[in-house]
Subunit: 360 residues, 2 copies
DNA sequence: TTGAAAGCGCTAACAG
DNA sequence: CTGTTAGCGCTTTCAA
């Protein structure tokens, strides 16, 4: 700047393996200050004088500067990445949770590194290991069950001050990390109780076809335990893996038509919807001949035949609450209108279950 | 190492702001080699002698070393992050695309940084800017339309050798980046043609309620243009924003029952499904009184009333192909069984449209 | 096959 | 309010 004639190597300083992107040093040179001042300008503008600030602003714009975050993290030890590891993005249950997470994280300037495990705990550990290399600011994993290796990684992260959140489950007996979810066993209980109250004594729980969907299995266990304790007959059948609505149809189809149960509960609404459609086509009257109870409160459950009774699951809220918890743990203010809702599933009684008329 | 008596500061080197994690230097010290050798061991093991290798392996295990990726990227200029920016994760269309992307990227060791825009181009630019700071190895964005600022960023990335992929659309007239998708206008054409072939001359297209869903609008434009060219009556109505099945019901409800169109096409299957349910409850016979044609081939379209006719959209394949393209551009071998399918939507005729009996 | 030196782009700590 | 110095943890380049 001082001497336009001096043989500066190049206008855009090209480093050893220059990639043509402007660096802090480029901006600083242009503004006639040191890198520190520019760095400050970027992070705490009030600590820079107005006129210097103006020159820097100009230089920033001229160079089209964009900070190299790797360098920033390396130097400061602080990263703005939140890593989330979930079983499957395509599953709408997790997709909505991710959306909830993303909706609160993004406005706060945190970025989401997403990994999926296809429901395998081994892959969860791998993904966790991979993701840890980025020194994430927080870690979100699904469920309470992990491999020993994964547990070690999570503990290590937590020990070094990284918030670790387990979503979609809750068990006071195993609190080691932050848990944002609910108890699936007791949801299964509620489901059984409802069917019992409706007067049904011959019950079936149609479990998820995904072998590693522990949460669905637990709901089934809670369901069966409660039903048995009440003296009801109860069977657990496993749906086929694959498209859930089709699997729901097949679950009903697989039952002996001569001795149908009185009430069926499902691991999710898609299964229930499939069964409902199948029942309708087979001329089975719901809920008179057969009561159906789903889980999740997916849109379809609200639309079919006046509505399928279900348990509302806080799909989006779990993600949102997890995000909020991360922000508070990181001392960041939430910049979005997130509310901390209850995460307890509630029964929504619609047209596929019916309480008996009150006697007395 | 030479002089064990020299007052080394500490056994576990604690840096200025040590966080207790083992570094390459820790491993090297333990194995009695330099960091370079360990670094080599990690990336090109064959260039390290067997016995040294063994010692290093041991030290690696002892220390529980996990590489700091920020440092690696900073030093090498190579990152293993792929950034994907999509409108909405919760929308199953994009959730499946993300899953497809993730399924091919993860086995190859690439990680996915996910950002969502809530369908706003401005937020897309913001997210893009944020994400660029990580020097991603590749960039995936949705659609062909971007703000000027975003375009500049994308061009800059591409110029510096970063593959840029636009998904879900294709237009030979605007090829600037890699496009993995299809032409929505021509899909709309196909939809109109089908309804026309079914003999319907009074048509309606129910457009997406999401104002910024340009792709749905384009299908509508293609639909309307084709219908008009054929001399049919055609209206485009906009669904309500909100739950799509409910919006589909309302779309039908909003039409004058005395003069229903002959055929309705929808921006997606959820809208179509809602309309189908509404039609059934209102006693409108499908396809005799009213033909219905969806888009997407979502599971529900295959389940309702013997199936809703639809256009199959390659939701998962788009993500998968994008991933495959990234790998090949980065000279990485795909480590998964991905196949490069056709991405052109195809008509699936089911029970909500019917071709007229052949005459002649 | 291994090592030494330098530096990626940025920020913490401390001066001035 | 601004600058100096040092170094984050790794990889590059070049030499041995």
């Amino acid at each position: 700047m001082e001497n336009p004639d001096s043989p500066k190597i190049a206008v855009t300083s090209v480093g050893r393996r220059g990639h043509g992107k402007a660096t802090l040093a480029d901006v600083a040179r242009r503004a006639g200050v040191t890198t520190m001042t520019v760095s400050r300008m970027l992070r705490e503008p009030h600590r820079v004088s107005d006129e210097t600030g103006e020159r820097i602003r100009q230089a920033l714009a001229d160079t089209g500067y964009s900070p190299n975050k790797q360098a920033g993290v390396l130097a400061s030890g602080r990263s703005a990445i939140v890593a989330a590891i979930i079983p499957n993005v395509a599953n709408s249950i997790f997709a909505e949770t991710v959306q909830g997470l993303s909706d609160v994280l993004q406005p706060a300037g945190l970025e989401l590194l997403l990994a999926s495990t296809n429901y395998s705990l081994e892959r969860e550990e791998e993904q966790l290991r991979a993701v840890m290399g980025w020194a994430p600011a927080a870690l979100v994993v699904t469920g309470l069950r992990h491999t020993d290796g994964a547990m070690a990684l999570l503990r290590q992260a937590q020990a070094s001050g990284t918030p670790v959140i387990e979503i979609w489950e809750k068990d006071p007996a195993e609190v080691e990390f932050i848990q944002i979810g609910f108890n699936h066993r007791s949801v299964g209980q509620t489901m059984a109780q409802h069917l019992l109250e409706c007067g049904h004594t011959d019950l079936v729980y149609v479990d998820s076809g995904v072998e590693e969907d522990f949460r669905a299995h637990e709901r089934g266990e809670g369901f069966a335990a409660t039903a048995e304790r009440a003296g009801a007959t109860v069977r657990i059948i496993r749906a086929e893996r694959g498209e859930p609505m089709a699997a729901g149809r097949k679950a009903l189809l697989g039952l002996d038509p001569a001795q149908l149960p009185h009430g069926m509960a499902f691991a999710n609404d898609h299964l229930a919807a499939g069964a409902w459609l199948q029942a309708q086509e087979a001329g089975i009257h719901v809920p008179t001949d057969l009561a159906l109870l789903g889980f999740g409160d997916f849109p379809i459950a609200g639309q079919l035949g006046g509505g399928i009774s279900t348990m509302a699951a806080p799909r989006y809220d779990i993600g949102q609450n997890a995000g909020l918890k991360i922000l508070s743990d990181l001392d960041l203010k939430p910049l979005c209108n997130g509310v901390s809702n209850s995460l307890k599933p509630t029964l929504i009684m619609r047209n596929t279950t019916r309480l008996p008329p009150k006697s007395s």
